[in-house]
Amino acid sequence: MLRRALRLGGGRGLVTRGPGSRGGGSTPGKDWDGKVSEIKKKIQSILPGGAWNPLYDTSHLPPEHSDVVIVGGGVLGLSVAYWLKKLEKRRGAIRVLVVERDHTYSQASTVLSIGGIHQQFSVPENIQLSLFSASFLRNINEYLAVVDAPPLDLQFNPLGYLLLASEKGAATMESNVRVQRQEGAKVCLMSPEQLRNKFPWINTEGVALASYGMENEGWFDPWCLLQGLRRKVQSMGVLFCQGEVTRFVSSSNHMKTTSGTEVTLKRIYEVHVKMDHSLEYQPVECAIVINAAGAWSGQVAELAGIGKGPPGTLQGTRLPVEPRKRYVYLWHCPQGPGLEAPLVTDISGAYFRREGLGNNYLGGLSPPEEEEPDPGNLEVDYGFFQDKVWPPLAQRVPAFETLKVRSAWAGYNDYNTFDQNGVVGPHPLVVNMYFAAGFSGHGLQQAPGVGRAVAEMVLEGHFQTIDLSPFLFSRFYLGEKIQEQVII
């Protein structure tokens, strides 16, 4: 293919003087015979049936022009692609290209997630996003219907989330539940006595209050959602490419603000997409770039020059998203909680939920800041379960004192080190890069809402349905944190 074309000098020189034909005082006659045989070989290769082919196959490469390039093909990237195609004004108006580095999704956060969805946040926008996602998942076969394809079965388990709070966190929990109910989430508060009546397998020592989601909360199969989105988005005409974005080429515009300070606005006009296991790359000319690269969004933002500048300025503000490793363990406990067990989150941060009919449970714990495991690989540390996860779970659910770990896996959390909430919307200086990343563990459950918000921003210029202006990039420079009130 390419190498063959290059070897033949790119089609220019057909007759190359090989090293053997030079040197030595060989007679002109002998030299001429060598040249003739070489020329004959070359002519034979050009003729039909020969080895030389100046036209080679580029079907694995992305197109040369695309209106929107979405970096990252996980649930957030595909959700943005879906809503862009759904909300475009004319059918086929926008050409969208999704670039995904790993088509097996082996390290993608989407598929390694436990698939939970809940509305028990304290930030109202998060609650609205989750409510919309619940209605999206409920009507998924209307949103993602493809003619001739079977309907999707998300295996949704509507059992809800149960959050426990100690004396210290009870007031926070009460105010959070008030906000949640205002936004329309069906959450109720339970006292320790009600907890014991409802879930007799819980040990309520140390628990002052619990909040329980009655509806629209539970867990589902993220792989099914991903495949459903992929199938629908392909039927709508979005192009897919397997490759890695290695470079952004942008043009700069030096402007002055009203107060006279100089500002450099950049526009990315070309994205270099490199193929796997090869030096081959394709420059894709584009109008808009969407950064939905999950745990690697920080690296993609650096490629665009975000964060390269003196610290403390807007040019020097990086995208503070980095990959953090989280473990999920699957264990079997024969006398464990029954079929009605919700996803229980303990005061210590340890959580668990039931998996299937056979008394299997899965759960884990977010480690504290100082003990974060190394995100270089996805290997599981079983010692973490023994030391940190099992004790609080066994204390909360006495049946878990006898359990047997079946397996475990690790996945990345696209952790926003600033305030652990997502980044949505355009960058103030690189004007055509839009973010949809950094959701720190709740990206899957907010993906439909965020996808719609980004599509509205791209197509209309402002948020229409859910106002996500508190999630813009500029908050990192201005220092305005939107942090969840964590219940201790």
Partner: protein, 230 residues
């Protein structure tokens, strides 16, 4: 009028033509064999022309919208007590009588349609037999009826699975639950055991404990007990 507190039985009219699946046009719900043999003209054309594909997608959307409209229409005139399809004359004289039983068998009620059933605070019996659009989400929506609901029948609903049955634990006053013939439940015998554990005061009918167990070969010794009684 000192009418006695009669319990009203509400039966929805049988919509014979309406329970066509959402994917009836595409034929996707049909098993593989019949799909290959019975390809319609539109399916054939859509393989070859892009515009026909667009037409089929448009028709699909129309069909789905129709399901919604049927529910809304039903919500206005939800009650059809007579087999002949007429209102009994006394009905309009009982606006304050609480509804105690609703029979929605076979009708295309979905999640949004159930919102109207949930308004009936004294509902004792709900029958959702053979409803094609009742799924796990609908069952999770039933929790407001926890104080009054005593009888629930889900027989023959194709989209109800054990995950939906698990969220019936809110209905603590339930005395009779019918879960027969649920094709989406993966292990009916085990599900019945777990549901009985979850709802101790409820009589669960329809699923046999031994359902789902492999039948034992003849050579097994005779002193092996019959399926375990918990």
């Amino acid at each position: 009028m000192a009418a006695p507190r009669t319990s009203l039985r509400l039966v929805a009219a049988i919509w014979s033509g309406s329970t066509r699946g959402i994917h009836g046009l595409g034929g996707a719900a049909a098993p593989e064999g019949s799909q290959k043999k019975g390809k319609t003209l539109l399916q054939f054309l859509s393989d070859h022309f892009y515009d026909v594909e667009f037409l089929r997608e448009y028709l699909l959307q129309r069909q789905m919208l129709k399901v919604h409209q049927e529910n809304r229409f039903q919500n206005k005139e939800w009650i059809r007590p007579d087999e002949r399809g007429r209102f009994p004359l006394e009905f309009s004289e009982f606006p304050g009588v609480p509804v105690e039983a609703v029979d929605a068998s076979g009708c295309a009620i979905n999640y949004d349609g159930l919102d109207n059933v949930l308004l009936l605070k004294e509902l004792r019996s709900l029958s959702l037999r053979r409803c094609p659009n009742v799924d796990d989400w609908c069952l999770s929506h039933l929790h407001p009826l926890a104080n009054s609901l005593q009888e629930l029948s889900l027989a023959g609903c194709p989209h109800v699975s054990e995950r939906g049955l698990a969220c019936l634990h809110h209905l603590q006053n339930l005395r009779r639950l019918d879960i027969s013939d649920l094709p989406a439940v993966s292990n009916p015998g085990l599900t019945r055991i777990l549901v009985e554990e979850m709802l101790p005061n409820c009589e669960v009918v329809g699923a046999d404990w031994a359902q789902g167990l492999n039948s034992e070969p003849e050579e097994q010794p005779q002193d092996r007990a019959s399926p375990v009684h918990v």
